[in-house]
Symmetry: C2
Subunit: 398 residues, 2 copies
């Protein structure tokens, strides 16, 4: 065994510019904790709640028509095409499909990227449903430090639907985009010698200026999720790490997870920092499909989930011009398809997904390391596959 | 709740020079993971094995005579004097004392500092006892990359007893000491622009030069533990993270732990990086006291523990001049007192201790944040207290 230590050219460091690109991406998605500071997400001292199994090997043969493509494709072929690291399907609460590849196995935590937003949003909707937070309250009332920022006169509901009007660019392809200033603010690495900007995500949020009017257009901006994280912390006196329990992660007795650092000790990155196992995300998805009930107990308020499922402003959503998501909306930081199955999803770059189809009683969790960040690259070989599987599973019931 | 985010002067960052000093130390000992990269130590999917309890509140009244002091002190008083964060005592396998303070509670991982060396050493002695490693083999044979370094012609036994002759200073008070060069090599932070030195602990180890003859004197140098870690990895094909299971951490069904990064992905810091809960360290201590048996199963070879307990070369140890440890020795990276109880210990800076007294059938685990790094500062109010408690517990049996 001469494999350790690896040769210099095979070493991956957080300080490398390309740690989350190319071949390194495929390692990094499973190893965030080994690259940067994290906070643990506790799952209590009990072991994980076992998932019931009823595996169906025929699923690999399910065929679907990729969007815009002429050749039909099988479920199995799509696994590789989408650079999948892990894929779990629950039908009526039982695991019918489970497969791993790349860096992932059943106990490995994988970065879920912006699926984190949906967990933060679920907590936000829970607090609204319980009456702890008023969705019509202005952010400046909830967090006085944000009163003079663009968030100040936005409502909590606008934050939850990302219809805030912010002078902030999240175009990752533009090196001058605000998202990079934001990344520098939250970095745990030392700032450049002449750096005088904000030293945490929270300090950055206070500097964001308004551009236009709130409530008119959907704009997918991560800083809304971190503003929501701050609102939640202030309203409850708890940090998000504990609040993960509220999102059912403890209630479903997950193994555990981890959350990336926000640039401030003890406060993880609500917009994209969560890491979890495939099965734990399946447990969470099932809890949501079951309208918050677990073993007869109402762990999350059903109304919080109903609020998400009803969807947001479709006209406002359309203005953002998301390719392939015509007719969709965004609500409580979940993507709502408004299809005739009422399917809705948590989505993160490079192919991370929790797909919940209430009509088919199906939950799909996919963790992936697609080389293209935007999900527009994998949606054509994913969304029709999910629907084909839903139809297959519903046929099986008959 | 205006406590979050904290004001700038209360923020602790890994990039601060003083993150492990002064008041910050008391927070940092419980939050290493939130400051720097770590690797998880898995404990399997089962819950933790419950420890049986038989708490004895009278222990707080046990009195002892501090070394060199005139005033007697109670066990309870010593708790505060030693800046204790957590203190657990097992007697005949049952918890008779448990107390937390500061940043610690029963589920929090605390940095154990050089207690990590003893866990690495226990794995090394296990591999020797099982015949996987020959203690008389030269390090250069075991890890060819180290053949031209000072370690090359040292035996594994000399590494395990830290009687290697290394041109390496570990005087933390000297800013020019080699230990700081070593720290820079393993740092996950970006190197200075003009830095051309080693970029991992392992690359550093290859550069260490010899000073004197191996086997003549004990020299407490962390790099021996990291060399041992490398030897273990090479011999077994496993990284230390999995090997923690071999040290009984999995077998005793601990919650979990974490290990700091070594500057190389996937390879944690064997010389001081482990973090664990107080109870998990108690489980480990009890497993060692029980000569490697757990529930009738021989989890660790009894011979590995016997090798540690027999102690090392006391004359070689004496040459290092450790104040207050006259007559002690160091073996398998454990501190052996050679007292008439046969007590031996794992020890880490700022007061971390696993103290095992086979005669009293007692295990003490203490986690602490004493402002003075060297244990010479707390030994006078610790070592006599341990003995007094052993005597008290033995009296109770009669």
């Amino acid at each position: 065994m001469q494999g350790f230590p690896p040769p210099e050219e095979r070493i991956i460091r957080f300080t490398d510019d390309d740690y989350f690109a190319g071949d390194k991406l495929k390692w990094t998605v499973c190893h965030f904790r080994e690259l940067m500071p994290t906070a643990g997400v506790r799952a209590g001292t009990e072991g994980a709640r076992d998932l019931p199994y009823a595996l169906d090997p025929s699923i690999d043969e399910v065929t679907f028509q990729p969007t815009g493509g002429s050749e039909a494709m099988t479920w199995e072929e799509a696994f590789d095409v989408n650079h999948t690291d892990g894929l779990l399907v629950l039908h009526r609460g039982r695991v019918v499909y489970e497969r791993y590849a790349g860096c992932l196995d059943e106990t490995t935590l994988h970065g879920v990227m912006s699926v984190t937003k949906s967990i933060t949003g679920l907590i936000g909707e829970t607090l609204v449903a319980e009456g702890t937070l008023d969705e019509q309250a202005q952010v400046g009332e909830l967090v006085p430090e944000l009163a003079d920022s663009a968030f100040g006169d936005a409502t909590l509901r606008q934050v939850l639907e990302m219809t805030t009007a912010l002078d902030y660019s999240e175009d990752y392809a533009d090196p001058e985009a605000d998202v990079w200033t934001y990344a520098r603010a939250g970095s745990p690495l030392p700032p450049p010698p002449d750096y005088e900007g904000p030293r945490s995500y929270f300090a950055f949020l206070e500097t964001v200026e308004k551009a236009g009017e709130h409530g008119e257009a959907f704009g997918y901006r991560t800083i809304n999720s971190d503003a929501l994280g701050w609102i939640i912390s202030r309203a409850t006196g708890q940090r998000r790490r504990r609040l993960a329990g509220r999102a059912g992660l403890v209630a479903t007795r997950c193994r555990a997870g981890s959350l990336l650092h926000s640039g401030l000790n003890r406060h993880p990155f609500a917009g994209g920092g969560f890491n979890a196992t495939l099965r734990d995300l399946g447990r969470l998805g099932q809890l949501i499909l079951d309208e918050g009930r677990l073993d007869g107990e109402q762990v999350l308020p059903a109304d919080a989930i109903a609020r998400i499922r009803q969807g947001g402003d479709r006209a406002a959503f359309a203005k953002a011009g998301f390719s392939g998501l015509d007719g969709w909306s965004y609500r409580g930081m979940w993507w709502v398809s408004h299809d005739n199955h009422g399917a809705f999803a948590a989505r993160g770059v490079h192919g991370q997904t929790i797909w919940i189809d209430p009509t088919a009683e199906m939950v799909i969790v996919r963790l992936a390391s697609h080389p293209v960040a935007a999900n527009a690259a994998n949606d054509p070989t994913s969304l029709p596959a999910y629907r084909a599987l839903a139809d297959y599973l519903m046929d099986q019931e008959q």
